[in-house]
Symmetry: C2
Subunit: 384 residues, 2 copies
Amino acid sequence: MPENDPRPLAGVTIVDLTRVLAGPYCTLVLSNLGARVIKVERPVRGDDVRDVGPFRGGFSLYFAALNYDKESIEVDLKSEAGRSVFERLLDRADVLVENFRPGTLEKLGYGWEALHARWPRLIYGAASGFGHTGPMSRRPAYDLVAQAMSGMMSLTGYPDQPPARVGVSIGDMAAALFLSVGLCAALYKRRETGQGVMVDVAMLDAQIAILENALTRHLVTGDLPQRTGTRHPNISPFQAFETSDGRLVVCAGHDELYHVFCDKIGRPEMKSDPRFVTADDRRVNVAAMQEEVESVLRTRPTAHWLEVFEAAGTPCAPVNTVADAVRLPQVEAREMLRAIPDPRIGTLWVAGNPIKISGVAEPATHRPPPDVGADGARILAELD
Amino acid sequence: MPENDPRPLAGVTIVDLTRVLAGPYCTLVLSNLGARVIKVERPVRGDDVRDVGPFRGGFSLYFAALNYDKESIEVDLKSEAGRSVFERLLDRADVLVENFRPGTLEKLGYGWEALHARWPRLIYGAASGFGHTGPMSRRPAYDLVAQAMSGMMSLTGYPDQPPARVGVSIGDMAAALFLSVGLCAALYKRRETGQGVMVDVAMLDAQIAILENALTRHLVTGDLPQRTGTRHPNISPFQAFETSDGRLVVCAGHDELYHVFCDKIGRPEMKSDPRFVTADDRRVNVAAMQEEVESVLRTRPTAHWLEVFEAAGTPCAPVNTVADAVRLPQVEAREMLRAIPDPRIGTLWVAGNPIKISGVAEPATHRPPPDVGADGARILAELD
């Protein structure tokens, strides 16, 4: 890296044994902050998701979205030559990240005790389904398992419908983000102590953590949090409504906003409707509220209502598809979509870095995701 | 802090202007890592969510879940005396975090340029709906707005039902986590440069980022990602199924796991059923698969099937309620539930820290969440 690279993790080298989602997303977040990520892949097949579609030019887009800007070296951790390369990589590394099932790395002789004894400055990050301790530690897990087991799924969807999965892999993503926080904090601490630590993040723990007030509410009051569709559990109108051509959300969280909202939809009498006078009336009669509001909103398209509500200062938004979302001028202005010229794919589009830092411009471009071992020769030469 | 506090952010002081959810969750994550968080609250009412129920002993559990272990001082940023206190707090602070609408702090004279000029080492973290730049920057936002606008909601729920909100405030939580990563990385960098930076995280950007491969898939192939209930978009059986008394998820992601699964549910003929022979057959006939599997699973309770699948090594899990989840021995073993004796609430239960670090034990207990200004006198005395 150039000496004056303003990115906060410039100069940090990560040896990356991760595959699939949680681990690679963590190292992507750190790469976006300037870390060098050397992806250590098993020979030939490499990361499991290289086989997961959709493909473009024979290349997995699933893999591509998670592994741009990373380097790849093929290493067989079960061969002597491979272990020697891996160890020389660790000699120069700041951080090792992996998301194998707990016990896997230990069996290969690279458990935390062994790593710390030989590389005391090395920080070791592990993402797993259930964590490196506890009775379920070594059980297999997927995002779906974490969402189901944690209660996350029970909170998502409509009350008269079965639980739904959160539409992105929030089990993986939350673990990846907590691990990223832990690793950055460990790097900060190491400047003081000179010592590495192990950071152990479980998908299940991460889901439990982001339940936040649902969890407190349940444990303190005994209430069981329920699915509410799009409705706020206590405030109304604060949910999605149907229009003539789609849906929008409105957040009219207190009397003043509610009164403006009634006027703007041409139903001023709703302000004094005995079902809707106080916030508590509106909470109790939320189904009637939805009926009344939709009977009006269904007469005009989403765009009309958004214009009306925006002009009135009522918080609102269209219920966008992904296609709508990526066309938002705000998304462009924030440089949240990045185009990477890629000889295999054509143009690879990926999400940008949501951590915007003063003095750090978005890079002009990014490295395309590597083929298995693409950077091996150069990396090996560096080790000599 | 004691000199030998092993927590990575021990010694870091955060001046915390945040309210409601995204900001307070960010400073909670950092507090869990050892930072001292001084919550600067407007006089009397303090943080907005102190008024949000449910309450226990008159105290908001919503507030409590997010603000334990923090200190509180009452400061009126519009009075001269208040500004003087705030500035003396910044003299001693490492990090300032806020989640006002962009422009708010600037109007008070504490925009980034002014902060950086006077406190060059100070790191400034801002969470907002749309970020501090771009055409929508100053628009009001809530979690519901971020989920709707980003496409997140369009991906969540069942294809034949309206979009659903993710059952936790993932718009706030994701922004909080990205901001936490950015602030820790900025602290790391500051040890080298001596300079603070501004870290600007938007809820919308954070949602776009965690769409990850759905976003790449759409932008590269033109496919529009859809809601799939609990089903994996490409793999089957990989979803929730009904049992006689509830639901469970099964992840039988490849031929071998599928064959074992068929045997274990007593339907070996499904292995050679022409609808289900290859992974692609199973993907195409996912509705028929659900029907066949549920016709068997509905005959016995969840506990029976979990036992069968666990013994066979098939990744599976019950679809738990929050009440089920908090009773998991693994959650207890990982110390993910923390009891805090609180004179107002009785016992306050909160989620623990999911970032487990070697050599860092969970604290024996935590400070209860403060009343508005509870620590003011002591903090003021420190400033003299």
